[in-house]
């Protein structure tokens, strides 16, 4: 009986090893850099940018037809929902079985760059798509680690702005939107009454928390990673930045305690329905509209600074948000892929697509188009051009988002349930997060 077991186990393991070996080996053999063996077709994974997956298809397909007419290359489009995109890319990178061209969230750039699955945009490659200088530099900085060839090029860009409810401001006697955080808190206190609040925050959403903590830290002159890519979460400046954000619920009480658990865009709904007077958001126009708020009811201003007239490194008031376009390294149609990148980043396509999606073109030639000169987009474009910085472009960016985002969520929970959030408790939370970062 026992020998039998052993025999079965041995056979199973042997079979498994054989298959594993072939599995791993097979992956790598197809991982060599691509070529041009199938020059007439391309597969393109687009991220969801419009109001629905179907809407994206309707937007993109006519453009892909144009590309086919110009080049004779047929593009097979799949719009991948955000919930699946990263896992699909991961599976593609692991197996070598993926699209030729794909959209990625720009904060993933450095992580994906580290896998080596994406084609680096070196000088030669850039020359094939019209050069590096066509792109807005802040947006290009969010396409890979500093000092390396970008792993992608920017496609759609966004920035944070301060949305404010004009009527609530007028009723509270506030003449102009705040330009410093002190003013914002003061205005917030004026607005906070009768069950309404000054500011809405998405406290249960780790990524949102990170975006704001990042900007506040920059304004304090600090960063969450040092130049070598090592985590520096608990510097006094970072602690102050995180505390400042948590205090909107805690000490300042200008945001409703309930915001601490918001993770499903409830803060947007609260702003749209007049429950809160201010909101920091990226291009919110179409969402606000679908929540029933008219464009003339709100204004958009740059997110405040620590002091009026801040300059240099302190003058950052948004992360560079956006979508990048990348080429899968083992594409079977390298030339076609680059032609497609060139096409998608051409001034004409940039105008059409960004105008449709309500985002900003990261390509300089396209920016002057009147479609981007509505008051809100003009404000955001200026932020993007002058005072936006990319989130840390390090391979461990997602750990940072998870760990610090979660820590901030816990701090919000404490603040909302009436516990004191002190400099020490913030520091402890950040130290704990930092210690969980992998050493690299």
């Amino acid at each position: 009986m026992r020998t039998y077991h052993r025999a079965v186990a041995a056979t199973a393991i042997a079979a498994a090893m054989a298959l594993t070996a072939s599995a791993c080996g097979g992956g790598s053999s197809s991982n060599d850099s691509g070529g041009n063996s199938s020059p007439k077709t391309l597969t393109y994974w687009a991220s969801n940018q419009g109001t629905s997956l179907e809407n994206d298809k309707q937007v993109l397909e006519p453009e892909l037809k144009k590309f086919e007419q110009q080049t004779g290359i047929k593009v097979k489009l799949e719009v991948v929902p955000w919930s699946d995109l990263l896992n699909r890319i991961l599976a593609a990178a692991t197996s070598g079985q993926g699209p030729d061209v794909l959209n990625i969230g720009n904060t993933w750039s450095a992580s994906l760059q580290a896998t080596g699955a994406l084609l680096p945009f070196d000088a030669t490659t850039f020359s094939k798509i019209g050069g590096k200088d066509r792109f807005v530099s802040a947006a290009l900085a969010a396409a890979g680690a500093q000092g390396k060839d970008p792993a992608a090029v920017p496609l759609y860009s966004l920035a944070y702005g301060l949305y404010y409810n004009k009527k609530m401001f007028a009723d509270a006697g506030i003449a102009a939107p705040p330009t410093t955080w002190d003013e914002l808190v003061a205005d917030g206190k004026k607005l906070t009454k009768d069950g309404k609040y000054g500011l809405a925050v998405e406290g249960g959403n780790g990524s949102e928390n990170i975006h704001h903590a990042f900007v506040l830290a920059k304004q304090h002159g600090s960063d969450f990673f040092d130049a070598s890519g090592k985590a520096t979460f608990d510097t006094p400046e970072n602690v102050a930045a995180v505390k400042q954000y948590i205090d909107f619920i805690g000490k300042d009480k200008i945001a409703a305690p309930g915001n601490a658990e918001y993770a499903a865009n409830q803060s947007l709904a609260d702003f749209a329905t007049g429950k809160a007077g201010m909101l920091m958001w990226q291009a919110a126009a179409s969402s606000l509209k679908s929540h029933g708020m008219k464009p003339e009811d709100y204004g958009v201003a740059p997110v405040p600074f620590q002091t009026a007239g801040a300059t240099g490194a302190h003058a950052i008031n948004s992360m560079v948000a956006g979508i990048n376009l990348a080429v899968f390294k083992n594409t079977k149609n390298l030339d076609g892929s680059l032609k497609f990148v060139n096409f998608m980043t051409s001034a004409a396509e940039q105008k059409t697509l960004n105008a449709t999606y309500g985002s900003l073109p990261p390509v300089k030639d396209a920016q002057s188009d009147p479609a981007f000169s509505t008051p809100d987009l003009k404000t955001l474009a200026e932020v993007l051009a002058k005072s936006a910085a990319p989130l840390p472009q390090v391979p461990n960016e997602s750990q940072f988002e998870t760990l610090v985002g979660t820590a901030m969520k816990e701090l919000f929970a404490q603040a909302a349930s009436g516990k004191d959030v002190t400099t020490d408790s913030v520091k402890n939370a950040l130290t704990k997060a930092q210690q969980q970062m992998p050493a690299s």
């Binding site: 992956g27 991961l90 499903a264 391979p395 992998p438």
Partner: protein, 305 residues
């Protein structure tokens, strides 16, 4: 001779399809997973696993170093998961058993009620759990509306999705999702209890409650043995419920191990360390299962004798 060969060969032949499938879909990937746990499989290497450097026991060492934050967090999450699993399985089983027994005899509306009770099982996870998260919202949810606004049980609206209450919320949703399954299995199990047993007991003057205790529950033992074990394993590894309820970052009080492993493999792209944690869990669950099977089988043998 041929007949004999056929007799010996038949069970293996019957098992063959199941074996092949298990091997392809479950066992080989599992063995690959175990191999992964000894590798330094970060995003720098996932394109070519063969080239990933061997990590020896490093991944394990990090996971079980309970003085360091990573190990501490894992241990904490392990206890949370254990408490959560015991509570959720216990409650699901209790509800399932009670409902199955109470609905054993025909009454008006029984068929309808049976279908109703399977509804949580039929609704897509994503939508069902999102709905619960709406209900648990502090300012606008049904739960606080009932407890605070209508019954005035609490002096203040409580948070359910963040802070310590999140554990309660998680258990509630998990029980809601899994008790119908217990109900389904037990209901089917009840059908195999011969009615004569009840009739005989009834002749002996046993009341309903005594019949339940003396006949129904013992007869369900074989079904229960599998059901409780499988519920335990599933609940322990449940990923969808906490993920949809809390998103990528669960509150500390409800930080389940599955989310933890997801974070240390998919979110951070370190499959070596995620695999090592999984292998440790596998070992733990194997031990629990072995003990469980030993104890329950012995009890069953004793009961049969």
């Amino acid at each position: 001779m041929i007949a004999r060969l056929r007799r010996i060969g038949l069970p293996y032949l019957l098992l063959l399809p199941a074996l092949l499938l298990e091997l392809l879909i479950h066992l080989i990937p599992m063995i690959v997973g175990i191999v992964m746990s000894f590798k330094q499989l970060t995003q720098f290497f996932i394109r070519d696993w063969g080239a990933a450097p061997w990590a020896g026991l490093d991944n394990y060492r990090v996971a079980v170093d309970f003085d360091a934050p990573v190990g501490q967090a894992l241990l904490h999450s392990f206890w949370v998961t254990l408490c959560f699993t015991v509570l959720a399985v216990g409650l699901s089983w209790l509800l399932g058993t009670a409902a199955a027994i109470l609905m054993q005899d025909a009454f008006r509306g029984r068929g309808f009620l049976r279908a109703i009770f399977l509804v949580p099982y039929a609704l897509p996870v994503y939508a069902a759990v999102i709905t619960w998260s709406f209900m648990f919202q502090r300012d606008t949810g049904l739960i606080n509306h009932v407890i605070h606004d209508q019954l005035h049980l609490t002096s203040e609206r409580s948070f359910w999705l963040i802070g310590d209450n999140s554990f309660t919320a998680l258990v509630t949703v998990s029980v809601w999702r899994s008790w119908p399954f217990a109900f389904l299995c037990l209901m089917a199990g009840l059908q195999n209890i011969p009615r004569e047993l009840y009739e005989a007991a009834s002749m002996d003057g046993a009341g309903v409650w005594q019949q339940i205790r003396r006949i129904t529950l013992p007869s369900l033992r074989p079904v229960n043995q599998v059901l409780v074990l499988v519920l335990f394993l599933w609940t322990f590894n449940d990923f969808n419920t906490p993920y949809v309820l809390f998103g990528r970052s669960a509150p500390e009080a409800a930080d389940l191990i599955s989310i933890h492993i997801y974070q240390s493999s998919f979110v951070t792209w370190n499959f070596g360390s995620g695999s090592a944690m999984s292998v440790l869990l596998l070992l733990f669950l194997l031990v629990v299962t072995a003990i469980y099977l030993l104890v329950t089988s012995r009890r069953r043998d004793a009961a049969d004798a």
